[in-house]
């Protein structure tokens, strides 16, 4: 093993669990796609090393790279504005530990990306708009849409007229 490889493995082990968790949520728990995202993120990150200026935490920067990779992979199917809402499966209400992860995974791609970045990881709309290449208004409308779908999925009684 070389010094470079050793250093890379140390970095990989420190940050990959967080990247993988984010990738899983962005891909709707698609493990194969999440692994591909993580791999491509590291490839891009090491190539774009000079772009990292230490102005943000390394992990934040890596997450931004991951979101960009995800965006590029989705580009052909990217539907931030006119995605068709899908009906979320409603889990049984008496299931005490409702499956929030599953509900997030069932969100439409565009709405899920914004929801995960905003409500799970705490990014603000300005940052999300920049990461995803959309205007802030789109980010806000996708978040509202995601929250509506989640409420409907997780609180079916409340959603009923």
């Amino acid at each position: 093993m070389t010094g470079g490889e050793d250093a890379f493995r140390t970095l990989y082990r420190a940050h990959t669990p967080a990247l993988y968790a984010m990738a899983l949520r962005l891909t709707g728990s698609d493990q194969n796609e999440a692994e591909d995202l993580v791999q491509e993120t590291w490839v891009r990150a090491t190539r774009k090393m000079s772009a990292f200026r230490g102005e943000s935490a390394l992990r934040t920067w890596l997450c931004g790279v991951l979101v960009n990779v995800r965006r590029e992979r989705l580009r052909s199917a990217w539907r931030m504005v006119d995605a068709v809402d899908i009906e979320l499966a409603s889990p049984p209400r008496d299931d005490a530990a409702f499956d929030l992860e599953r509900a997030i995974a069932a969100l439409p791609d565009g709405a899920r990306d914004v929801f995960v970045l905003h409500d799970v990881y705490g990014y603000v709309h300005r940052e999300i708009a920049e990461m995803l290449g959309v205007v802030e208004g789109t980010s806000k409308s996708q978040l509202a849409r995601a929250r509506t779908l989640l409420r409907k999925a997780l609180s079916p009684d409340e959603a009923r007229p």
Binding site: G3, G4, Y12, Y20, A21, R47, M49
Partner: protein, 157 residues
């Protein structure tokens, strides 16, 4: 904007922020990042990884004194390759130079690479007071004596 009910917000806050992927992914990623055929991409990727580690590691001495620089060694067109059978001797000379830096606290990471040909290349991450100091240190590397090329990159923390 519509908010989520408290129970969903609490559940969101408790979602795990880390998940362990399949252990096999690590080797896959290492191969993808470092195992490329073009050795100079190899050098660049390894340099980036090593530099990221140095920049972000809590014990990073670069945070305490001086700045971090990466020396990327490439042969260039004028490099004087070692005579047949003398590659190890050449490598040892570079290693002695690296050791001399380490003894005075100037070396952070030594990343020897295994090139396919009979030239010596690699990378070193050093600490230096400023750009001039880094250039001065680079100029003492045996690589210069053999007319190789050294690219000195400063990392902004």
């Amino acid at each position: 904007m519509s908010e989520l009910p408290d129970d969903i917000q609490r559940a969101l806050a408790e979602l795990p922020r880390e998940r362990e992927p399949d252990p096999a992914l690590e080797d896959r990623v290492v191969r993808a990042v470092l195992g490329r055929r073009r050795r100079w991409m190899w050098v660049g990727a390894a340099a980036a990884a090593a530099a990221l580690l140095v920049m972000t590691h809590p014990w990073s001495p670069a945070r305490a004194t001086g700045q971090t620089y990466v020396l990327l060694l490439s042969p260039g067109s004028a490099y004087l390759t070692p005579p047949q059978g003398h590659l190890e001797e050449r490598r040892a000379e570079y290693a002695r130079w690296a050791d001399s830096l380490a003894r005075i606290g100037k070396l952070d990471v030594e990343g020897h690479l295994e090139p396919p040909g009979n030239v010596v290349d690699g990378l070193f991450i050093i600490r230096a007071a400023n750009d001039s100091d880094a250039a001065r240190i680079a100029a003492t590397c045996p690589h210069i004596k053999y007319r190789g090329h050294i690219e000195v990159r400063r990392f902004i923390e």
